[in-house]
Amino acid sequence: MNRKLRQRDLVVLASSASLALFLGACGGGSDDSSNSPSTSGTSSSSSAASGKPYVIAEISDLSGPVGVFDTPPYDGMKAYFDYLNSTGGVNGRPITTKASDAKGDVQTTLASFTQYSGQSDVIAITGLGLDTQMDPLLPKLASTGIAAISSPSSTTSGLPYNKWYFSFGEDYGGDVTATAQYLSEKDSSAKIGYVAFDSPATRSVASNLTKAVAGTGVSVVGKEFLPPTATDASQAISSLVHAGATWIAIGAATDPQFTSILQNAKVQNFDGNILAIAGGGEDSNFKLASTDKYKALRSFHSPSETNLPGVAKMVSEVDGAKPDKYYYSMGWALGEVIAKALTTCGSDCTRAGFRDALETTSFSDPYGLAASAIGFSDTCHQGFRSTFVYGWDGSKPVQEGSIDAYNKPPCGGS
């Protein structure tokens, strides 16, 4: 009886203490103050830049299966701001970031958006690219008057132009164009077997790809969709191989699915080519494939390509852990664009002013990280226009060419 009582006393005291802590924390933070703490990773505000910080708020899937894609661009962007702050910031002010994990859920996304848009020091939102999370937000961007820049993916319904929406990511429309163009140039009678995890977006890519190649020698001979949590692609690959595919196009897949696809291609003695359209372009994927028949689309150079002067410069300016994912470079480049817009916007930058300033960031790429110039205009809100194709030379991925993926007017040529 005594032992039980002591246990209960402990429970009571512990819960009263937690309640007190809870209430204290509850009362402690008020949303509209500009002293709200960062929710993820403290970004350094160094001594060189003082003054009221510009705040960029990121909402994306920072954990879970997509976290491996969404975290590097955020890290890259933060690293660029850190570097900039150490050399004086922008207009004398540092740039800081806040982040919130969308967890792949629309409600969490909306809640974070409501929270950040209610904080007066937040000047723009980054992250968020999946259609499912961004589409409900598009009308709210206009009614709240805050710009959103998606990375590393973007939503097709916001392109090519939506006043408050900017894309610094790969969108599915661009994927389709890039794939169709690459294959028609490389192998005009390619028979494509498309495999991806099952989602409305990947299904739409598959059907758009079929439409895009209709009338050319290229055809889509099979489409296979894996349940998102599945790790076994044996049946899908076996079907595609039996359907006579000469190219296996991987739309979007988790790491285990990639491996299973590659392994099963070996099992089936598949001697055609494999093209990774979205994702699958990291060095580790190439090493796993270990064949010169594996090609991947990458929109930016990987930080591991230090033979390129711009990449080496970026890596030398990074403070802390050395990056290795190419989406990191995408984040760094996005940081550059944001900083440029802030410079133009001035030290009294408002949200509307920032939005306008984004459209005036003239195109350049000082670090040479992308396949084309980067920036936005007042007719095109897609931040980068081309994508690289990478192959394997036996020991590392090498660039084999580039494709103008987002090349339709108003973003590109005729």
């Binding site: 949590t229 599945a230 790790t231 076994d232 049946q235 790491d255 285990p256 392994q263 070996k266 003695n269």
Partner: protein
Amino acid sequence: MGTLIGTVAQGVALGAIYSLVAVGFVIIYKATGVFNFAHGQFMVLGAYFAYVSISWVGLPFAAGIAVTLVITGAVGLVVYAALIRPLLGEAIFAPVMITIGLSIVLDSIISITTKGNTYLLPTPVPVHGVSIPGTTTRVSNYSLIAIVVAAVFFVLIASFFRWSGTGRDMRAAAENPHLASYAGVSLGFIFSVAWALAAVAAAIAGIAQASSTLISPDIGSVALRAFPAALLGGLDSVMGAALGGVLIGIIEMLGSQYVGSDTRDVFPYVVLLVALMVRPYGLLGSRQVDRI
């Protein structure tokens, strides 16, 4: 016809994994009446422990696997002692819900410690395809190894239950816990052994699954699809787990081939629902007796 045989063969290969997972559910249910929702996480732990033992510590493959099985078994014991034992005697809801809570916590721990990094299982023999005679279908050599491993494991488990003292005690305790304890069977010991054994089964299943793809946190999702396998075979029948696993594997592959690959996820659950409506105690399970 060739495609049919080939698809069935692939189904059997997939089913081997399912039966390995399902037998873990069955062992725990048979002994303690609890359904373990955290089984998938045990699989993932087993796979990662195997990687650590073989690649980091540098043990040879067989020794690494053995060490992994021991460690994972110990984890099963700890889970039983800390979470299940305090709740014995409560309604089924409580221990099941606590295993659900455990699965969430383990997922989070795995994510934090592995940082989402995935690894290739360092297998002694490289992966290559093996042709099924009489068809154009090829399966991975590791699928065939998985089938052999599953068969061996089932023989071992069945003999354990049949011939060893502890095994007999477990069967007695499952039939009638009160009588068994009067006869001198230590229920606590039985339950601990059951959980440890199930964790070992999970580790084997996890390693088998990882051999066909990567060691990653996603491996555990197979466990969700093994529920129908366990139920179809009968939640308290070890042989039922083998049968159910193979059947679900075949059904899933047939559906995937002839109906569409996106239905793979849903067919096992349709089977589960049908089984629940028609024969809830499964193909080889024992009927439930209603007690007032």
